[in-house]
Symmetry: D2
Subunit: 372 residues, 4 copies
Amino acid sequence: MGMVGGGPDAFIGAVHRMAANLDGKIELVCGAFSRSADKSRQMSRQLALAPGRCYADYKQMFEQESWLPADQRMEFVSIVTPNHLHFEVAKLALEAGFHVLCDKPATLTLDEARQLAEIRQQSGCLYALTHTYTGYPMVVAARELVARGELGRIRKVVVEYHQGWLADTNASLGKQAAWRLDPAQAGVSCCMADIGVHAANLAEFICNDEIEQLSADLGASAGRVLDDDGVVMLRFAGGARGLLSASQIAVGEENDLRIRVYGEKASLDWSQQEPNSLRLMHANKPLEILRTATPQAAALGGITRTPPGHPEGYLEAFANLYRQFAEQVEARRKQGLPGKNTLPGIREALRGMAFIETVVAASASQQKWHPL
Amino acid sequence: MGMVGGGPDAFIGAVHRMAANLDGKIELVCGAFSRSADKSRQMSRQLALAPGRCYADYKQMFEQESWLPADQRMEFVSIVTPNHLHFEVAKLALEAGFHVLCDKPATLTLDEARQLAEIRQQSGCLYALTHTYTGYPMVVAARELVARGELGRIRKVVVEYHQGWLADTNASLGKQAAWRLDPAQAGVSCCMADIGVHAANLAEFICNDEIEQLSADLGASAGRVLDDDGVVMLRFAGGARGLLSASQIAVGEENDLRIRVYGEKASLDWSQQEPNSLRLMHANKPLEILRTATPQAAALGGITRTPPGHPEGYLEAFANLYRQFAEQVEARRKQGLPGKNTLPGIREALRGMAFIETVVAASASQQKWHPL
Amino acid sequence: MGMVGGGPDAFIGAVHRMAANLDGKIELVCGAFSRSADKSRQMSRQLALAPGRCYADYKQMFEQESWLPADQRMEFVSIVTPNHLHFEVAKLALEAGFHVLCDKPATLTLDEARQLAEIRQQSGCLYALTHTYTGYPMVVAARELVARGELGRIRKVVVEYHQGWLADTNASLGKQAAWRLDPAQAGVSCCMADIGVHAANLAEFICNDEIEQLSADLGASAGRVLDDDGVVMLRFAGGARGLLSASQIAVGEENDLRIRVYGEKASLDWSQQEPNSLRLMHANKPLEILRTATPQAAALGGITRTPPGHPEGYLEAFANLYRQFAEQVEARRKQGLPGKNTLPGIREALRGMAFIETVVAASASQQKWHPL
Amino acid sequence: MGMVGGGPDAFIGAVHRMAANLDGKIELVCGAFSRSADKSRQMSRQLALAPGRCYADYKQMFEQESWLPADQRMEFVSIVTPNHLHFEVAKLALEAGFHVLCDKPATLTLDEARQLAEIRQQSGCLYALTHTYTGYPMVVAARELVARGELGRIRKVVVEYHQGWLADTNASLGKQAAWRLDPAQAGVSCCMADIGVHAANLAEFICNDEIEQLSADLGASAGRVLDDDGVVMLRFAGGARGLLSASQIAVGEENDLRIRVYGEKASLDWSQQEPNSLRLMHANKPLEILRTATPQAAALGGITRTPPGHPEGYLEAFANLYRQFAEQVEARRKQGLPGKNTLPGIREALRGMAFIETVVAASASQQKWHPL
C-alpha cells in the first residue's frame, strides 16, 4: 500500500501503519507523508522505504505509481491527512485507479461525499472508511445478535462518546487539537465530526438501522468556533428512540465510547475501554458477559488473534479493518468473489457527512426535529 | 410516627418502616394502612400496634390523634399511598398540625403542589419528600464537592435512570405496575413521574442548580397511555448542558440510576447500584475512587453507620432521610434550632411537579425548548 | 432481647442493635453495656430503656431478668463484649435459661468452646454465632448452588480477607485495635481470630465441607505479639485444595472478603464489598452474574428486603441472622417446629476455635500439614 | 529474524510473529517451523519467505544462515518450539553466534538452564526470555513504583494465575494440552511450568526481590501425571510473605493473572485481563487508578502506542519485548551502548527453572519450607 499523510508528528498515521503491519500481509511501499518534503523524507527513511518511493506530494505519487508494473506498484492508498484533504486525495486516487482506505470523516461536506460516491462508482475501485470501532470483535458480535433477532425489536439506543482532552481552553493543546478546532481544516464541526460521528456510526452499525430524525444541542467553550460538546435526541427508522452524547471537554474521560441497545427481548451493553466483554441483559435470566475469543463469541463473527483472556485492543480492531480491506483487494486482484465483510464504505461516508451537517443545523434551529 | 398507606402488598410502605426502624429512634404508633379495613387491621396486628391506633381512614386518624395528649400522639405522618392521594392526605395532615414526610412525587399536579406549598406555609409544620437517592452518603459528598468548587464551573450533566420491569407489555405486571400506568392514580406520566423525576432531582441536588429549559421525547409502548421511556435534553441556569434518560422498558436493567457531572476542573460519576463509591476524575492526575465511611468521605458529610468496606445500601439511604427528619421534628419539639440537613422539601415538591408537567408537554410539542 | 457489651464507643454493639431493629420485630429491653456503670447508664438513656432495666453487670442482669414474668423478661441475650468475655457471659446466660446470640469468635480457646457446647446441650437453649457473612443472600445462594450439585465436585477454594486498618505500627490505633492485639483479651491470635476465622467459616459454609488439614505462615509486624497477617494452605475433607489469606496490614484494603469456589462443572466468585452480585462461571457458556432479589436468586433462598437493583449491605446481612434467630426463638416459645435456617451455631463455634488454634500452631511448626 | 517452531497449528508462534510485525522494524527472513517438512514449507509460503530460507531443521538453518553475508542473514532467532527443545535449539543458536529470543520456560531442567547460562556467557550473544507479562506498561510502572519506594517496604504479595482450559479430564483437549501434559515434552510440571512460573516471575519482577523459601501443594486431576493446579506459600528475601496460586482447572477462568503487592505505605493491584489500569491503594487517601498512556503512567516507563483510553493488550505487551530486544540487537550491531531495558534474560531463565523444580519437590515433601 501507499500512504498519504502520517508524517512524524501524526497520531493516526502511525496507528494505520501498525494496523497494516500486524498480520504481516500488507507492505507499505510508498508514501507522501507530509506537505513538508523534509518531514516526508524523514518518515520515509524511518520506515525504510525503497529509494524513489517517497513522493513530494500525492499527485506525483498517484501518477508515478501508475507507471510502475502492476506487481510493483502500490495496490491501494491509505489516506490519513487532516479532514479537509480527504476528498481531494481520495478523488485523485480513485480516478487514478487505486483502491482507497480513508480515515474518517470521508470528506469535509456532504456535498463532497456525494461527489465522491459518484467518482467511486465510475472508478470501479474499492473504497473503505476506517470507522475503527466497527472492527472490534464484540461490536461485530453485537451486530450479529441484533441481526439474528436475539434482542427482538429495538426500542431504545443510548450511545455516548466522552473525552476530556480539549477541556482546558487556556492551554495550548498542540497540533492534534489545532486542526480539529479550525473550520478550514475540520469543516463545520469539531466534536461531532471527530467523535460524534463514530457514535452515530456505531449505533447504525450494530442496529443495522438508520437515524431518521434528530434534535441537537451543541456547545462550544469560550473562544472556540466549533462545537466541543453536544447532546442529540434520536429517532430511528425502525422505531427506536435514542440519544447520543459526545464531548471533548468531559474532564478526566479518556476515550469513553459506550453503547447500550435495549430490545423487546434482551439488551446489550458495550464499552470501548473494556472492549473484550459484551454485557447481555435478559428479562428472565442472569446477566451474561460474552467474551472475545470464546466459542460463543466466535460463532458471532469478529476477527480475533489471541485466546480468551489475552486482551486485544484498539490496534487489533484497526487491523481488522485493514485485514478485511486487504482481503477485498486480493479477491479483486484474483478476480474472485469478495468474501463477506463488515467494512464501512461509501454508504457510511454519506451517512456520516449527513449526520454531521444535520446535527450542526439542528443545534442552531428552534425547530425540534430534523430529518437525516 | 403514624403511617397512611403501606398495607400488606405495598412495596414502598415496608421500605419506609424499615428505614424508620433502623436507628431505633422512631416508633410507629398508629396507621391507616389501606382502604380495606381488613387489610389495615391485618397490617396493624403484624406491626403489633397498640389497640385503638389502627384507624379506618386517614381523616379519622388525624382527628383522633389530635385529641391525644402531646406525649402520646404521633408526632408526624409518613405518607406512602399511591400518588393520587398524596396531596389530599398531606393537606389534611398539615391542617391538623402534623409534620409530614411524603413519598414522592408530592402531588398529582403542579397546581396541587402550589396549593400544598401554601398550606404548609400557613401550618408552620415541617414537610419532607423522600427523594431517596439524596440520602446516600456519596451523593451528599458529591453535592459538597460541587459546592466547594472542586469541580469548577459545571459544563455538562448526564443522568440516567433505567429499569426493565415494565418491558413486557403482554404480561400482567401486578399491582405495582397497574397504578403507575393508570392516569387516574399516577397523573400525566408513568416513567417520568416515577423515576425521571428522581433523576432530575438528583441532578439539581448535586449541582445545586436548576434546570432552566428542556426538550423531550417520551414514548409509550403499545397499549399504554402513559410514557414508559423517554429522553430529555437539559439546559441548566448555571450554563451547563445536560441530558436525562429514563426508562422502565430497558430489559435487564434493575435500578440503574447513574449521574456524571463534568466541571471545568474535575468530574464525578456515581451509580446507585454501587453506591459506596464515587469516581472523581481529574485532568492531570489519576482517577480517584472516594469510598463511603473513609475519613475523606466523612469530611464531606453524609450519614454512615458502618466502617469502610462494610457496604451500605438503599435502606440506609432511606433511613438517612428519616433520621434527618426525626432530628428536625425533635429540634422543633424542643424549640431548638434545627441542624443543617439536606432533606428535600416543598421546594423539591414544586420542582418535581414542574419537571413532570413540563417534560410531558415538551414531548408533545414541535417547539424545541420549554422553560421549567 | 438483652445486650451484654455494646457501650458508647463500641462498634459491633451498635451494629447488632441496628440489625435487631431493622425488621421491627425485636425489642431491646435491657442491657449491661459496659464495665463502667456511667457508660452503661449513658447507653441505656440513649436507647430509652425502661427504668431499672440497665444492669450493673451481666450476672445481675441474668439474675434479675429471671425473676421477671415470662412476658416481660428478655427472651434472649446478645453478647457483644470483647472476645475474652464471650465464654463466661454465654455460660451464665445459658445456665440461667436464656437463649444466646454471640458475636464471634465464640470463646477464647477451643477448650472453652467444648465446655460451652456441653453447657448448651444441658441447657436446652438456642445458641447462634454471628458469622455475619453467611447472612448475605448471595452467600446463601452460593451454598445452595453447591448443595444442588451445580458446580459438580469442588476442586479448589480460594478465600481471602484483607484489611488495612492495622497497617500503621507507629500510630495509636484506638480501642478497637488495642484489645484485638492484646493476648489477654483476644486470645492466641489477632488477624486469624478476628477475620481469618470468618474466611474459614465462609469456605466451609458455602462448600458444606470441612477443612481437614492445613499449613500456615503467620506474621506479626514489629512490636506486635499476635499475628496481623497470614497465609494458609488448605485441604478439604471432600478432596478440594485451597488457600486462605488474611491480613490487617494490607494498606488501602477496606473489608475485602472474597471467595472463589471452583468445581468440575462450574465455579463461583463472591466479594463482600459488592455483595449483591454472584459471578457464575461455566466451561461452555458465558459468565453469568446472579443478582440479589431477582427471581433466579430468590429460588436459591436468602433473605432480601428490596427489589433488584436496590442495594442491600452489611446491616441487612446482619439483620438476616437476627431475623432467623428471632424466628427460632419464637418457634421455641410457641413450641412449634423451628423452620429451616442457615444460622451458625455451636458446631461453627467449635470449628472456628479449632481453626484459630490449629493455624497458630501450624505456623509455629516445621511440619507441613496439621489436622483440623 | 529467523524462527524455530511456530508451524501452522501453533498458537505461540503466531503470537510471536504478530508481536515482531507490529512496529514494522523486524523482518522474518527464515524459519524451520516444524518437524514436518511439509508443514514447514506450508508456513513458509504463507509467510511469503524468500525461496531457500525455509529450512528442514534448525541445525541446517543455523549453519546455512551463518554462511550468508552479515547484511543478509538473520540477526537473531526466535524459539517457539515445545519446551523440551528450547535448550537444544538455544544452545546451537548461541554456539553459532546468533542472538536468542526464547519462549519460556527457558529449558526443561534447572541443570540445562545452568548449562545454557554458561554457553551464553561464552558466546557473548544476547539472550532474552519472553515472560510476556513483564511487557505490559502498567507492570513496568508497578515495578518502578516499588523501586522508587512509593510503597515502602513490601510486606505481602498475592499472585494468582487461574485458567480453566484443562478442566475437563474426559475431553480430548487438543495439541496445546497434549504436549503440556506429557512429561517428555513439558518436563516435571504442567501448570507450574506453563503458568505458575509466569506468576513467580511477575512477583519477582515487580518487587525486584527474590523468593527465598516456599512451601507447596500441587495436584493432578484423575489420569494426569503432571500437576494442573497448585498453591504455594512464599517467603521473599526482602522479608515479605506471599502466596501464589495457579490453576488450569479453574472452570470458567480465561487467563486470570493478578498480582497484589502490599507495602508499608501503599499497595498496588494489577490484573492481566484489564491490563491498562493499575490500582494504587493508600492508607490515607482515596484509591487511585493509574491508566496506560497518561502522563502519570508515562513517567514510570513502559512502552505504549496509543493515547489514553485506546486499549492495548497482549500482543502489544509481547511486541514490547520484541521491540526492546530489537533495540538491543541494533545497539550491539552498531557497537553502541544498549539502552536501559526490562527484558527478562538468563537470570530469569535460572530463576524460573529453579522455581519449577523446587515447587514440584516441595509439594512431594512433608517438610514445610524449601529454599529457592
